[in-house]
Amino acid sequence: MNLLSLSWKNIMNKPLNLLLSMVLFGLGIGLINALLLMDHQMKEQFDSNLAGIDMVIGAKGSPLQMILCSMYHIDNPTGNIGVGEAKPFLNPKHPLIETAVPLALGDSHRSYRIVGTDHSILSLYEAQIGEGKLWEQHFEVTIGRVVADETGLKLGDRFQSSHGFNDDVDLLHEHGDGFVVVGILQPTGSVIDQLILTTTKSIWDVHGHEEGAEETHEDHAGHDHEEHDHEHDAAGFHLLDYPDEEITNILVKFRNRTNFQALNLPRNINENTDMQAASPPIEINRLYSMIGVGVDALRNIAIIIALVSAFSIFISLFSSLKDRKYELALMRVMGAGRNKLFLLIILEGILLALLGFIVGFIISHIGMEVIAHYAKASYRYSFTGFLFLKEELVILAVSLLIGVVAALIPAFQAYRTDIHETLSK
């Protein structure tokens, strides 16, 4: 039996007061902690998918939408751009551009996006083949690890794509034998884990069939489509040979990102072409600042709740002093100094705050796990409630400090307990 265990028993002796303080404090702390977890994981996700990309080129529209669509695959395309128009930026000899990765979007399989591109996309995300091989022929696909895990697709499996990005059987493309899985990438922790990669021409061909186009590429040299047979060799496929076709975006890495001309390139594209160029870090910062307004509002609400709960701890301790004045006087009679009475009440404040923190901690992590479940279903983003941050220790310290501050006045009242006056009544 010591002061700590006495404090513990004292707060447990008033279960309703304890419950009120814990629920209020837990809600405030839980909300703050959940915001912290969400903010951290969102930034981590966004940052990991920046992949060193300096510029994205696409159709005119919202630059943020274009970035979200082409890099994070969570929004719709702003439109398509002509290969002929984009040709200068796809030229491997461009003096400012080190890597230009074309993306052709528009289809999906069970909500996982099918991306028509070339192998250069792998270098952006440092992705490597895990099983099988990389896509070579048209209608061959190499899938990300998450796609394999979630859809159960294996090497050799075939599937038909859906138009758009939703899992809707009414929008299913009917195109020969469909796509065949030839490879599965190793997990990278980036968005490529959630993509189905194939040749750009595969995407064109699917849509060519849907629109009833009579093999619109027949004119292209070396490309004689043979009655829906997509097993033909794609090794000779060169995107620039199809200036009349369209792609959705180009992901660009500069040779030198501090080069003045490179920095001006997005502005030049926006001013002098029918395309738009956007810088991912700028757009993501813009997104953070937009989200930040809501996050700040929620954080302020959480702080108000935490302050109200601190006040409830104060009221709880202060009102209990009236009932416990004889107990406190008795403690003095039995040998406890004034300091011990002060410490006893402070410990009770700390314990109430600690219990509130624990409730808030559990609420925030369970809440985050629930949000993660929905985020994964809606956006394919893998948040988790089982992430524990160093910043949570700061929240713990602040919680305990709130407990101390809330207990100060009651503790001082206890310190001033007049034994004679109390026990004479």
């Binding site: 010591n2 006495l6 028993k9 403690m331 040998g335 406890a336 100094g337 004479s424």
Partner: protein, 235 residues
């Protein structure tokens, strides 16, 4: 003035150890003790020299300062005039912290109203009394004293669930658990019928005997007068 046999004084360290012997020690004394609540009306108390192993009754009607005297003797109140010594220690020489510790170690007080730590059970109430007095927790001693007072079976009970008689016994056990040299009891029988009154007096005498402690009972209950030859009358 306390009535009793002649006494001797011993060094402070030897006092508790010597209590088991037949020698009677001066355990509590007051000199020129007086108190005022408003700086005009003074309550003066007779000088007292109380010996170990003796019983004293402090009697007086309401308003004669009985409780004030008890609180002065227990160090709960600082004298405005005069001095109180317990176990050869002048209480007014002690600072707040030292006085609290000294009181916990040397004085057991039984109040008219029994109050306990509501959050603790009987055993824990005695444990905290040991702890706050700076003693090591000794569960065996707690069990022994509760058994002596016939409430051993209530050791784990919450104090709020005890009968009034049981509460009084627990209060006595708590006052005695640290083997005090002086036991002060404030109106311990005022709310009791004759049968229970005698029982409590008997209990207090027996437990004080067992502890070789000086027992002072402050009361206005005339039923006790015949039981205690040593009496201090307040008027």
């Amino acid at each position: 003035m306390c009535y009793g046999v002649s006494y001797i004084t011993l060094s402070n360290d030897n006092r508790k150890a010597t209590l088991k012997s037949d020698v009677r020690l001066l355990m509590l004394s007051t000199k020129n003790l007086a108190y005022t609540y408003n700086d005009t009306d003074w309550i003066s108390f007779p000088d007292m020299d109380c010996l170990s192993d003796q019983r004293y009754l402090i009697i007086g009607q309401s308003g004669t300062g009985k409780t004030t005297l008890l609180h002065l003797l227990g160090g709960l109140l600082k004298p405005k005039k005069g001095s109180v010594s317990i176990n050869d220690q002048d209480l007014s020489d002690m600072s707040g912290q030292a006085l609290d510790r000294f009181r916990g170690d040397n004085v057991g007080i039984i109040f008219q109203q029994t109050h306990f730590m509501d959050s603790l059970n009987v055993e824990e109430n005695l444990m905290i009394a040991q702890k706050l007095a700076g003693h090591a927790i000794n569960k065996a001693e707690i069990t022994t004293i509760l058994d002596k007072l016939n409430i051993g079976h209530k050791q784990s009970a919450k104090t709020k669930n005890l009968s009034q008689g049981e509460k009084q016994r627990v209060a006595i056990a708590r006052a005695l658990i640290n083997k005090p040299v002086v036991i002060l009891a404030d109106e311990p029988t005022s709310a009791l019928d004759d049968k229970n009154c005698l029982e409590v007096v008997d209990l207090l005498e027996r437990t004080a005997d067992d502890a070789n402690a000086t027992l002072l009972i402050v009361t206005h209950d005339n039923r006790l007068i015949d039981h205690f030859p040593n009496q201090i009358k307040l008027s």
